[in-house]
């Protein structure tokens, strides 16, 4: 029960009444420096840093000149596949594109089939760590990030931020609250649970490819 657990916590802290918001805020200001925490810095642009970190995390990336190039780039990336079952997030940048006629293309969340490819539109990316930011929304159903075999993410260069801290105000600006799920994706799925040797494609996508629209 809420009141019992909270009472036990207060007792342990030697407090008779609930802490007031003002006191807690004052304590926060006093105890935690207002400066950013130590974080990595890099020479060169954020886009170069992002690509370097993505590759370090076993993902791949390429630059394309415009969103119209997306189908060509995806087709090139999947050249060795005979049949492509593509699932796309219903983002304006991904709608109305002309995909190869032999492909099966649909919009919406991923379904059970494992051998799918998803193409989704990132909300942002973090240069420091090489992470793609994928908040859930009708344009970006979360299952597209995890069920398909291959995940292709489209990102515009202007959406890259330096640090994770810069993502929060951007996300909160739209609705003032976080979407149900915010996934930071840094490379394809991996495990080292068998004798500490790294294997890609544990449960999520085996491959992650980023198309950076410049």
């Amino acid at each position: 029960m809420r009141s019992r657990v909270l009472e036990a916590i207060r007792q342990a802290l030697g407090r008779d009444a609930p802490a007031s918001a003002d006191d807690v805020v004052a304590d926060y200001r006093e105890s935690i420096p207002d400066t950013p925490p130590p974080r990595q810095t890099w020479d060169g642009g954020d886009a170069e840093r992002l690509i370097e970190r993505l590759e370090k995390a076993s993902a791949t990336a390429e630059r394309i000149p415009s969103a119209a190039e997306i189908p060509t780039a995806v087709a090139r990336y999947l050249a060795e596949m005979d049949a492509v079952n593509l699932r796309i997030g219903a983002h304006p940048d991904l709608q109305g594109l002309t995909w190869p006629s032999s492909w099966e293309v649909a919009e919406g969340p991923a379904d059970a089939a494992d051998a799918q490819v998803s193409v989704t539109r990132a909300f942002a990316a973090v240069a420091e760590t090489g992470s793609l930011v994928m908040p859930s929304s009708p344009q970006r159903p979360t299952s597209l990030n995890f069920l398909p075999d291959i995940h292709v993410v489209v990102l515009r260069e202007g959406e890259i931020v330096d640090y994770m801290e810069a993502v929060w105000p951007k996300l909160l600006a739209e609705t003032g609250q976080l979407p149900r799920a915010v996934n930071f994706i840094t490379g394809p799925s991996r495990t080292a649970d068998v004798e500490q040797t790294l294997q890609l494609g544990a449960h999520g996508p085996r491959r992650l490819h980023v198309l950076l629209v410049t």
Binding site: P37, R39, T129, M164, R180, N183, F184, G204
Partner: protein, 471 residues
């Protein structure tokens, strides 16, 4: 999980003589340590980041009542339900009840140490199929064993053992050919994919709880937590109340510490912030979202001199850097949490009497404390537990007597110097090299040799050196 921590000595001995275990531990030994060192070296001023981690957690714990209430209010404002539990029994009953309400026949779990702590699997397994989805956790579930490491639960298993388990459980055969790691991973993926899709309930832990937004933070490399928490119609989070951080900014700082300390990554492949139940416009995600908060002894620690232990973010760095853990693995510790953090937590959760060897399974080399991302003074806490054992008469009579004599002698410097000089002279007389047997110290020499002294005592050398240095 029933504790066997009282059998620590016997279990440690068995572990040292278990060739398969030693082979598996050999694989892991330097990997974690080297990767962490490389990741830390890349970040300027990691020390100051550790300070920040400590400040954030200390502040959050000092105001835990405020933040945990704020967290709960925010979860409920987003369509989730928060359940507050004090004991493991209460937590198990609550979770079982939620699964029953969901009409669950199949449950998929993402690794949760809080879940291990309350023994949730045994309770659920009686009524419904309960499957672990983290590959390591799945392997040990097949082997019917507890985890031996908090972030690499099957680190004690060799490829041959995993092959045998998969043969038995997936193919019902015995003596199949030894398989390579990629084959084993692909096989588990295929088997578990079905389980994700069929599950009625997904259960996960939480790496952090964010008060400001009511978010639960989950980190994995496999993506199993995301499949577990996104596909089934019901998601249940199990979290200790101490997981709280004030805001998103603080969570970002803590994440910089977590992956680097644990696996040496900048970020794990998947870092996810979950806030409430599926929204009206969402196309996927669980409709029913529950957070079960557990106390289970945490408020007791909050009120005593072990509060610092509540800063722990379960990264496993102290295990990886502990020479005792590296030699015997996790099972010898006898309960859910092994290594240095476990040697503090187990006595807190199950009582010092049932875990009296754990605070002593430590060489006080201090590495655990020096790598801890939130600067928990683990060696000090272990020493404090030793003090309690002495005060509570939990140490043996001979040890107590010995310590009393030692205490008396060390308070009389002349006698102490005379004693050490005599002992050194006698040991020098005994021979060269090392001694495998010593009178009155049979217990100590049973497991190691004492290098015999070759020169004068430290005190004598110090004195002599002081004379030289003086102008």
């Amino acid at each position: 999980m029933k504790s066997t921590a009282h059998r620590f000595k016997a279990q440690a001995r068995e572990a040292l003589h278990d060739d398969t275990l030693q082979q598996a531990l050999g694989h892991a030994k330097s990997g974690f340590v080297d990767k962490r060192a490389a990741a830390v070296a890349e970040l300027p001023d990691f020390e100051r980041l550790r300070d920040r981690g400590q400040l954030i957690k200390d502040h959050a714990l000092r105001n835990l009542d405020y933040y945990i209430a704020q967290f709960a209010d925010n979860v409920e404002a987003q369509g989730g339900t928060v359940h507050w539990t004090s004991t493991p029994e209460e937590a198990r009953e609550t979770i079982l009840g939620l699964c029953r309400d969901a009409g669950a026949r199949q449950v998929i779990k993402a690794k949760t140490m809080a879940g291990e702590e309350i023994g949730i699997n045994e309770t659920l397994e009686r009524e419904m199929e309960t499957v672990e989805s983290d590959l390591g956790e799945y392997i040990i579930q097949l082997a019917k064993e507890p985890p031996s490491h908090i972030i690499a639960p099957a680190v004690h298993k060799t490829r041959a053992e995993i092959t045998r388990l998969f043969d038995e459980h997936h193919h019902h055969v015995d003596g199949g050919r030894l398989r390579e790691a990629p084959e084993l991973v692909a096989e588990a993926r295929q088997v578990l994919r079905e389980k994700f899709l069929d599950a009625d309930v997904g259960i996960s832990g939480a790496n952090f709880l964010v008060a400001e937004t009511g978010s639960v933070v989950l980190v994995t490399n496999e993506g199993n937590a995301d499949l577990s928490t996104n596909l089934p119609p019901t998601h249940i989070v199990i979290a200790g109340v101490e997981k709280i951080v004030p805001g998103l900014r603080d969570a970002s700082s803590m994440l910089r510490l977590l992956a680097r300390s644990a696996t040496g990554q900048d970020m794990t492949a998947y870092t996810t912030f979950l806030t409430g139940a599926r929204r009206a416009e969402d196309l996927d995600g669980p409709e029913n979202y529950h957070v079960v908060l557990i106390d289970n002894g945490r408020t007791r620690m909050l009120g005593n001199e072990f509060r610092e232990m509540l800063r722990c973010i379960r990264c496993g760095a102290c295990l990886n850097h502990c020479p005792v853990y590296s030699a015997i693995g996790g099972h010898a510790y006898g309960w859910v949490y092994p290594g240095p953090m476990g040697s503090v937590l187990t006595p807190m959760f199950i009582g010092l009497d049932g875990a009296r060897d754990l605070p002593n399974a430590c060489t006080l080399n201090g590495r655990c404390g020096s790598v801890c991302p939130v600067k928990i003074p683990l060696p000090d806490l272990l020493r404090r537990l030793r003090d309690y054992q002495f005060e509570q008469h939990l140490t043996t009579r001979t040890t107590r007597m010995g310590l009393r004599v030692w205490g008396w002698v060390s308070r009389h410097p002349r006698l102490y110097h005379l004693g050490t000089r005599l002992a050194t002279a006698m040991l020098r007389f005994a021979g060269r090299g090392s001694a495998s047997r010593l009178p009155l110290a049979g217990g100590w020499t049973a497991a190691r040799d004492l290098p015999l002294p070759t020169g004068s005592t430290f005190q004598q050398q110090w004195k002599a050196r002081g004379k030289e240095r003086r102008p």
